[in-house]
C-alpha cells in the first residue's frame, strides 16, 4: 500500500508544535504548527462583558480568524483594505468561537470576556483546525492567568474539558487524516471535525467537493477524525503540563 505524498500513514498527523507564550502581551498566546501551517493564537482576557450580557453573571468567549495576505501561495487582498470580511473568514471565526465555547462554563468564568484571535502566518491546509487546537491552549493559559490575578476565583473551573479539531478527507479514494494543502486540493470529500478531549463531537462539517459520499465513507472519516482529535488532545495536555510562560 502506497504512502501519502509526504510519506505519512493515512491516520498520521503532521508534526504538531504548540509554543506557549510566543507573544508577550496577551494573557494567553500560542504559536501552533501543523506541519508547515502556522497560526498565532492569542487570548485576550478583559474584565466585563458586552452590554447585552451585563448582569447575567456569565462570561463571554468569542473568536476572530484571519490570514495574513501572503500566508498563502499567492497573495490575497487584505480584508481591511477591501473594507469587508469575506464569507470564508466570517464562517471560520464563528466556528472557532462555537468550538471554544463548547468547553467553557460561562458561569464559572464570571462576567469576564476572553477574545481569541487566530491569525494564520503561513497556510498549508488545516488552518481552521490548527486555529481551534491552538486557541484552546491559549484560552487555558488566559484562564490560569485570570485565576492567578484574582479575576476568577481559584475554585472556579471555567473550562469543562479540552477541545481540538482536525480535518479528514478522501484523497485518491482513501480516507486520510490532517490534509495538507496539496491533499486538500485533491480531496473528493473534505470534513472538519471538532471533538472534546473525552472523544465526543462538538462540530462535524463534511462537504462533498466532487461526487457525493455515502454512509460507509462518512463512517470511515468519522473514525479517523475521532482518533486524530484524541492524539491532538494529548499534544495539548503535554504542552500545558509545563509551567505557565512568564509565571
Amino acid at each position: 500500500m502506497t504512502t501519502r505524498h509526504d510519506g505519512r500513514a493515512p491516520d498520521e498527523l503532521r508534526p504538531v508544535r504548540l509554543t506557549r507564550g510566543w507573544s508577550e502581551h496577551p494573557e494567553g498566546s500560542v504559536l501552533v504548527e501543523f506541519g508547515r501551517t502556522r497560526v498565532l493564537c492569542t487570548a485576550s482576557f478583559t474584565p466585563g462583558v458586552p452590554r447585552w450580557r451585563k448582569g447575567s453573571g456569565q462570561g463571554w468567549v468569542t473568536a476572530e480568524y484571519a490570514m495574513l495576505p501572503r500566508a498563502t501561495h499567492t497573495r490575497g487582498d487584505r480584508e481591511s483594505v477591501k473594507g469587508r470580511v469575506g464569507g470564508r473568514t466570517h464562517e471560520i471565526s464563528r466556528l472557532v468561537g462555537r468550538a471554544l465555547r463548547a468547553v467553557v462554563d460561562t458561569s464559572a468564568l464570571g462576567e469576564n470576556t476572553v477574545q481569541l484571535d487566530c491569525d494564520v502566518l503561513q497556510a498549508d491546509g488545516g488552518t481552521r483546525t490548527a486555529a481551534i487546537t491552538g486557541a484552546y491552549v491559549a484560552l487555558a493559559d488566559a484562564c490560569a492567568w485570570a485565576v492567578r490575578e484574582g479575576h476568577v476565583p481559584a475554585t472556579a473551573q471555567p473550562l469543562t474539558g479540552s477541545v481540538a479539531a482536525v480535518s479528514v478527507g478522501v484523497v485518491d479514494g482513501r480516507p486520510v487524516l490532517d490534509l495538507d494543502y496539496p491533499e486538500d486540493v485533491a480531496a473528493g470529500t473534505d470534513m472538519n471535525v471538532v471533538c472534546t478531549g473525552d472523544g465526543r463531537f462538538v462540530e462535524v462539517q463534511g462537504t462533498a467537493e466532487g461526487a457525493p459520499f455515502d454512509r460507509t465513507e462518512l463512517d470511515a472519516l468519522l473514525d479517523l477524525a475521532s482518533a486524530g482529535c484524541v492524539a491532538l488532545a494529548g499534544h495539548q495536555a503535554a504542552a500545558l503540563a509545563g509551567p505557565l510562560p512568564g509565571a
Copy 2:
C-alpha cells in the same frame, strides 16, 4: 411515547408545499413551505459567465440567501442598511450554492450562469433546508427553460440528479426530523444534512448547542436525515411532474 409539540412523529416532516411559478419574471421560481417557514426561491438564467470563468466552456451556479426584516418574531435590521452582510447570511448563501452545484454538470450547462435567490418571507425554523429544497426545483425549471429557449442543447443534461436538505436534532433527548423554531431553540444538537435524490451526502453540518454528542447520537441523526431527504426528493419529483408553469 409522547408526540412532538405539534403532534408530529419524530421522523415526520412538516407539511411541504412547492408552488412553481410563484413569480412571473424569473426563469424558475418556487415558493417553498416547510410548515410555516416560507421561502421564495428564484433562479435567474443569464447567458455568459463571470470573467474568471470565460473560455472555460463551463457554466456557473451561485446562490444568495436573505431574510426579510420581519420574517422573524422580532424585527431584524436590514443588512443593506447596516451596509454589510452578516456572518450567518454569508454562511448560508455559500451552503446553498455548494449544495446546488453538487448536482450540476457545468460542462453540460455551457457558458451560462444561474443565480439562485432564496428570500425568507416567513421563518419558523429550517429556512436554509427549505431554501435548498426549493432552489433545486427553481433550478430545474430554469434549466428546462434554457433548453426550451435554445440556450442549452436539448441533449444536454445540466442536472446530474436532485438535491434536498433537512434539519435533524436532539430535542428532549430524542432525535427528531425537520425542527420548527421552538424545537430548534430547545435542541441540544442541531444538524443540517444535504442529500442527493439517490441518498448520498452532499453536506453534513452538525453542531453541539449544549453538551457534545457521541457517535450513537450522530448515527441516529444521520439515519433520520437520510430518510427525510428521500421523502423531500419525492415532493420535488411530484412538483416537477406537472407542466412547466407558463409553458
Copy 3:
C-alpha cells in the same frame, strides 16, 4: 377612442388586492397587489422610541422600502451585498415614511414605534404607490393590535385618517391612471401623488421624463390622481372592514 394596452380606461386602476395577515409574525401585515405588482408590507410595533425622541411623549413611525433582486425583469444586485442602499431605494423609503406619518398623531401613539417594511416581491410599475397604500392597512392593523394589547389606550386615536397613493402619467399624449411597467417606460411625464382619504394632498411628485409639461397637463394629472386615491381609499376601507386577522 382607443383603450390602453391592457384594455383599461384612462382613469381605471388595475385590480387591487389587499390581503391582511399574509405573514404571521408582524403586528400588521398586508400583501398588496396592484395588478401584477406585489408588495409585502409589514408593520412592526415596538414599545419605546429612538433615543432622540425619549421623554417627548410622542411615538415614531418610519419606513423602509426594498426590492427582491428578481422582482424585476432582469435581476438587480442585492443592496446588502453591494454594501450600500441605492439612491432610489433611499428616496422611496423616505417618501413612504413621510406619507404614513401624515396620518399619525404621534402624541396619541405614545412613546411607541411602528416600523413599516415594504418589500417588493414582484414589480410591474407603481411599486411605491402600492407600498404606501398597503402600508397604511398594515399600520392600521398594528395600531388596532396595540390597542387590543394595551400598549395604546383604547380611547387614543393614533390614526387621523387614511392615506393612499397612485401614479399618473402622460402616455401617448393622454393622461392615464396607475401606470404599469410598459406604460411607465413609455410615459412622457410621470407623477406620484399621495392623498388622504378625504382627498387632500400629502405629496405631489411630478417629473418630466421627456419634454417639460405645461399647467394644463399638470391639472389633468392631478384630477386623475385625486380620483384614483379616492378609489384606493375605498379598497382600504373595505379591506379593514373585516375582522382583524388572528384576532
Copy 4:
C-alpha cells in the same frame, strides 16, 4: 397686510447673485447666492462617456450635491467620514441631475460628459433650488468652452433651453416665494418647482409638512413658483450676457 420677517413681499425673491468664473480650474464655475444661501456650482467637461453609453453617439450629464459640514447653524458630520451618502444628499443629487438633463440634447453634446458639482458653502434655505439655478449657468459656460475648444461642433446646440428652480411654501397661512431657513422651518407645505425658461414644468415636488393641503393651495403655490422661475431665468440670461470668464 404684513410683510415677511425680512421685509419681502410674498412673491419676492431674495437678492440673487450669479458670479461666473469663481473658480479657475473648472470649464464652468458659478457662485450662486440666494440671499445668504451660497452654493459653488462647477461644471467639469470630459471627452468620453461612461461605459454603458459608449457608442451611442450621446453625451451624459450628471450631478452631485453636498454640503460643507459647517454650512449650517450647527455642524453636521461629514458624509465621507461616515462612509455613506445620506438619503437627503442622494435625493437632491438625483434631482439636480434630472433637472439639468431636461434641457440638454445629448445627441448634440456628442459623446462627452459634463459632471456638475454643487457644494453648499452656506445654507439659509433653498439650497437645492439655488444649486439648480447656478448649475445651469455653469453648464452653459462649460458648453460654450467645449464649442470654443472644438469638442463640440460650433453648429451644435447642446442646450435646448434654460432651467431654474425655486421653492414655495405656505407660511403663516400665506403662500410665499423662495423661503429662507426660518420660513422653511415654519412652513406647513413646502414645494420645490423646476421650470424651463419658457415656463413649462420639469419637476414639481410638494410635501405637506403639517396638515395635508388642498387643490386651491396647490394652485396658488404653482402660480407663485412659475413666476419665480421666470424671474430667475432673467437673472440667468443677464449673467450669461457678459463675456465668458477667462475667454
Copy 5:
C-alpha cells in the same frame, strides 16, 4: 540669477489673504488664500467633549481636511461617494489637528470642543499649509467668541501662541519657499514645516521625491521655512488685529 516661474524671489511667499468671517454660521471662519490656493477654514465651538474625555476638565480640538471635487485641474471623485476617506486626506486631517493642538492649553479651554474644518475650494499647491495657517485664525476667533459668550472665563488663555505652516522644496536645484502647483510637481525634495509664532518647530515633514537629500540641503530648507513661518505669523497677527467679525 533667474527668478521663479511666477517672478517670485526664492524666499518669497505668494500673496497671502486671510478673510475673517467669510461664513456667517461658524464661531470662527476664515477664507485663506496663498496665491490661487483657497481654503475655507471654519471653527465650530461646542460645549462638552467626546465621551473618552469627560470629567477630565480638559477641552478637545480636532480637525478635518477635505477637497471639493473640482478644486483641482481634473476632477477627483468625492470621498463620500467612494464611501471612504483616502489616505492623503486622513493624513492631512491628522496633521492639521496636531498642529493646532500644539498651541492650545486644553485645561484653559475647559470641557469644550473646537472642531476645525478646512475645505479646499481651489488648489494650487500648499493646501495643507494654507489650511493650518487659516485654521489658526478661525480658532482664535472661536476662542474669542467663547470668552465673549461666557463659555470660557475671560481670564483663561486657551491659546498659548500662534501657529502657521509653509512648504519648502528644492526646485531646479534651488531651495524655494511656498511652492505653487507647478513647482510642487517639479520639486525634488518637498517639505512642510509647522512653526509657532516664536519660531519653534511643531512639525517637520520632508520627503525626497526624487534623489535623497543631504544635510546641507535639509538645513537650507529649514532656514527658509522658519523665515516663511515668521512672515505668516505676521499676516495672522495683522488679520486678528481688526475687530471680531460680527461683534
Copy 6:
C-alpha cells in the same frame, strides 16, 4: 550620566535581528526584531503592473502595514471588522511605500510589481521603522529571486541602494535613539528618519508631542538618526551577506 530605563546608551539601538526566509511562500520574507518589536515583512513579486502603469516599461513597488489585534498591550479592534483602515495605518503604509520606492529603479525592475506587507506581530515602539528596515531586506531577496527566475535580466539593478529607518526623540530632556514603547510615551519630541545606506535622507518626520522644539534640538536628533541608520544599514548588509534562503 544616567543610562536609559533598559540600560542602553542614548545612541544605542536595541538588539536587531533580521531572520530571512521566515515564511516559505513569499519571494522575500523577513522577521525583523528591534528588541521586543517584531514585524513580519513579506515581499510578493508578480509579473505585470497595475493598469495605469501598463506599457510604461516601469515596475511598481507598494506597501501595506498592519498590526495584529493583540500585538499591543491592550487589544485593538480589527480594521477588517471595522470595515475601514484607520488613519494611522494608512499613513504608515504610505510612508513604507515611499521609503522603499526611493531605492528602486523602476525601469530596471521592468513591468513587474513588488507588494510589501509589514504585519506587526508584537509592538514595543518603532514598528514603522522596523517595518521599513525589514522590508528592504525582503525586497532585496525578492529582487534576487526575480533575477534567478528570469523575470528581471541578470544585468539589471532594480535596487539603487539600501534604505533603513529609525526613531529618535527627546526623553527626559535628552535626545535618544530607537525609542521603545515606554520611551515613546514619555517623549516630548518624536521623529522618524528614513535614510539610504550612504547616509542621505529619504524622509524626515518630526512632531512635537509636548512643547515645540528648537533648531538645536532638531539638529541633535538628526545627528543621532543618521548614525542609527548607518548602523542599521550594517545589519542589513550582514543579513544579506548569507545565501538566499531556499536557494
